[in-house]
Symmetry: C2
Subunit: 247 residues, 2 copies
């Protein structure tokens, strides 16, 4: 039983928690991680500024310092996420549970908001949301580029009973650090998704009758935007950093 | 008579409009300007990210390119504001109406939201707002630093009838690019303002009886945060850039 974000981070640092974080400590702010070199930090922060729905910035570390300090949260980002992905020019080179060996002296870490943040409030409003990570799709919507960062918008999907769809918009509106309101509601083909049953990431979803697919910008988007970056590290999808605070 | 933002920008570029922009084209997005060298662009964007109420980022130019392109707005930032301030290490060295002679090859321009944006909607709701620039005060609230950028939060003040104060919050909540909701409502001394009749910038305000002072974060804040920056250019207070779009 996980008792607090600090507890989860300590278990992750000890290698004793390597699982997804959806449905765990959902009341707390969860976050995507992107690490780039100092030389590309301006362009990446600008990419986030220009694409605030997929990339809502919560915190940025000082160049070279692996320790995040934000409110009461203090954590070594090299060890306190359950799992990572290490990238070179868009090639995935490792998926470790500890990035100490991959940390660079000029690394800058960005913590970006995550939709796990609003799943608890959605459930509390009677909207059925699975306790596993949602299916994620690559869309035909291009993000706004900045420097070498560009690529398609990725979305997570939740199938919501039609009479609760407006409520889901109202609730997620309150959580700009949870990707905010949907980027699309309705026909998936309009945003380039051929089949809901074949997500690009995650398991195929159940689509109950009388439900409407709702699509929120997804924090995995930057993982497709770093293909021209010589060095980058991200979280492993679904395996988020968990802050002390609630959003 | 100013007929459009493009008209105002053309007059400014011709040196025929050098006056403040409050009360002119208020329905359009107006913006503060901050220019820094590329070497400090990450730290300045991070300063904005950490202080979104005084520094809501609307647009950022490519390094070295003086032309802003944003939606339908295309404008040479060296000439299309009515007046500028040029800074070296926090020292004001010139207040020209054209910065062509001061532009550097590595300059990056940031356009930050402005409270003129919400003054029209406030008036439409029956809240009396002067058609001149509001008084601005230096507070005892520190902004969150980033790199060399740090300093006190500056606020603009509007005295609002008490029964309309909540309405003013509701309206300004809708305008995050107009500095959003107030940072303080009530006793000015709480935020380090000794006398409302002695603003740090702008004329002394009228304070009607039964009104409540309301304080919004101010886009002049960065002008006090650039004292450790070898090169910076800002707009002259009240003399804003005017976008084509409405917020």
């Amino acid at each position: 039983m996980i008792t607090s974000p600090a507890h989860l981070r300590a278990l992750a640092a000890a290698g004793e928690w390597t699982a997804p974080t959806a449905g765990v400590l959902d009341g707390h702010q969860q976050a995507n991680l992107v690490i780039v070199p100092r030389s590309l930090a301006f362009e990446f922060l600008l990419y986030c500024t220009r694409n605030p729905k997929p990339c809502p910035v919560i915190a940025v570390t000082d160049p070279g310092d692996p320790v995040l300090r934000f409110g009461t949260t203090e954590a070594d980002l090299r060890t306190t996420l359950p799992r990572y992905r290490v990238w070179r020019n868009g090639e995935l080179v490792a998926e470790p549970t500890d990035i100490t060996a991959y940390w660079q002296d000029d690394a800058v870490a960005f913590l970006l908001g995550c939709s796990h943040t609003f799943e608890g409030p959605l459930r509390a409003a009677g909207i059925p949301v699975a306790h596993t990570a949602p299916p994620v799709y690559i869309t035909n919507i291009e993000t706004t580029p900045a420097g070498p960062f560009s690529g398609p918008l990725l979305v997570s999907m939740r199938a919501v009973p039609g009479h609760l769809a407006a409520t889901a918009v109202e609730i997620t509106y309150r959580y700009p650090t949870g990707h905010g309101t949907p980027v699309h509601i309705g026909d998936p083909s309009v945003i380039g998704i051929e089949s809901l049953s074949a997500p690009d990431f995650g398991p195929p979803p159940a689509i109950p009758p009388d439900s409407t697919p709702m699509f929120w910008a997804c924090g995995v988007t930057p993982q497709l935007a770093i293909s021209n970056t010589p060095y980058a590290i991200t979280h492993y999808p679904g395996h988020m950093f968990v802050f002390d605070h609630t959003p």
